[in-house]
Symmetry: C2
Subunit: 310 residues, 2 copies
């Protein structure tokens, strides 16, 4: 047995078994990363779905048996639930366990979980930049993290061995790993994830509200570009409400910049400034190319959607 196939953890407790929790379980199994996967969800419907799929070795509707002897505990609910969950979990965490999460914001996570972390437990917030527009246990799949980045935001003073172990965990799940300050994480994600979701939700709402264009027309002619936004705007409402409530400052900052730039673009259209439009539209092309070169998106036209496989 090589180091790469030996279980890294004895027991991983996944608190939450939706898209991300379930995908972690699938990826752990694929890589043999833990000897035992315990899943926890208090919700009957989610419990039944997860049980049927069978990605967990044990599945629990109560916290204590899920956490017993776990050396890695992963909070994988919407971030708004983290504080209460951490408080409830705290008495059951074993010494030297790593406590982590998968939340899309990090300053608020430190604020909400930090005060509940018992002495001797290694608290290392994490954020895998991966997902789909679907949710629930049935949406999970083992390849979700392949080639994507996971950002760790360990508080100052965290034991380097614990950070290294969590880094190895995410690598074996398929991710690349970066370490960052939580405040900087929140700003980076505000522009690469939160603002894109906000404006996608917004344009879909605007289209839905127009009186002069019917919903049927919006749907029929959505291949003109609109349909791309509806994918993101179909993401989990609870998760995204919590993101915006918990990353207010950074989101408002990048939103301010976006609106300022949009006003300039509006002015260029109003005054027929073709050169300003052409210059922006040329500049943005280069970024697409870099994202494809970095392996973060498909080079296939239209994301490979409308060309049949040859």
């Amino acid at each position: 047995m090589t180091a790469d196939s030996k279980p890294l953890f004895t027991k991983v407790a996944l608190l939450g078994v939706g898209l991300i929790g379930a995908s972690i379980a699938h990826a752990i199994r694929r890589g043999g990363v833990a000897a035992h996967i315990a899943g926890y969800t208090p919700r009957a419907a989610t419990f039944e779905k997860a049980k049927k799929i069978g990605f967990a070795h044990s599945l629990h509707r109560e916290l204590e048996p899920a956490l017993r002897n776990a050396d890695l505990v992963v909070l994988a609910t919407p971030v708004g639930a983290f504080g209460a969950l951490a408080k409830e979990a705290a008495p059951h965490l074993q010494k030297n366990a790593i406590l982590t999460d998968v939340g899309s914001v990090k300053t608020a996570v430190v604020r909400d979980i930090g005060p509940h972390v018992p002495q001797g437990v290694h608290f290392i917030p994490a954020h895998p930049i991966a997902g789909t527009e679907q949710s629930g246990p049935e949406a999970g799949f083992p390849e979700l993290f392949d080639g994507r980045w996971c950002i760790l935001t360990p508080p100052p003073g965290t034991e380097p061995e614990a950070i290294e172990k969590l880094r190895t965990f995410w690598r074996r799940l398929g991710s690349e790993v970066e370490v960052m300050d939580p405040k900087h994480h929140d700003l980076v994600l505000a522009i690469t994830s939160h603002l894109p979701h906000l404006i996608a939700y917004n344009i879909v709402g605007t289209a839905d509200d127009l009186e002069a264009v019917t919903q049927g027309e919006v749907i029929k002619y959505s291949a003109g570009g609109f349909r791309d936004f509806t994918r993101i705007a179909a993401s989990d409402p609870t998760m995204w409400r919590d993101v915006f409530l918990n990353n207010r400052e950074a989101v408002l900052e990048v939103l301010g910049r976006f609106s300022e730039d949009l006003s300039a673009l509006q002015r260029a259209i109003r005054w027929g400034d073709g050169e300003a439009l052409f210059n922006l539209f040329t500049r943005t092309r280069a970024i697409r190319r870099s994202i494809i070169d970095a392996g973060q998106d498909s080079a296939a036209p239209n994301f490979g959607r409308n060309r049949p496989k040859s």
Copy 2:
């Protein structure tokens, strides 16, 4: 030979052989829709690329031989070039030919082409709602129009037989066909296509300009949602400059609505109004479902990008 496999036109002249012109040629060949395809482009580099691919039966750098005896003429350049091109083509159009285009705006097309149309020529503007972020003759492929909609905006008094023939043409290319007033077309497309492109270009520009987040970070963490916008923002700059210069009124109208809605959303975030956020995010999910049900997008999570084929 059935009616569905007989050539509908003797000679189709494609004025412009980029993504759309080339795709029309491929789709004509697939369906046996015309006996002869003549391609026209004055640009040496485009001419050579198109020649190498070989989708046209004849390829021309001059207009007259391309148009000679053509019973269908399709303008397929950026819309800003339509006026001059129509003027130059007019003396060479044969009686009873159908003159059409593929431009993304329609009121401006009627304004620019209309005055040049000779007596006896059937002028029927058209807009296939299909494309990819790529451009040039090498980007074309036969399936581009399959299952997408093509909107015709015939001027009042157009011969019904000519409309019917163009409708059949687009159906045999794989499209569904709708007839609409040009002004309504421009408003519908402003929300389903032009505004999505505008805000995609804008957010990519905003991200590129942030000082506190590096371009490397934007690229690495783009899978959080941003990458989706870069696809649209990689579309042809000349084509899109011309769209915004030629659909100003409708774009400014829907942009005003978008900005108004965005301000309300900004306010909800600032004041922590979770209910308003949750309600919008729930409503937008339904539209995604309708688009998938209508066959206008893939149901696969993440557009099917990150899950390996099983």
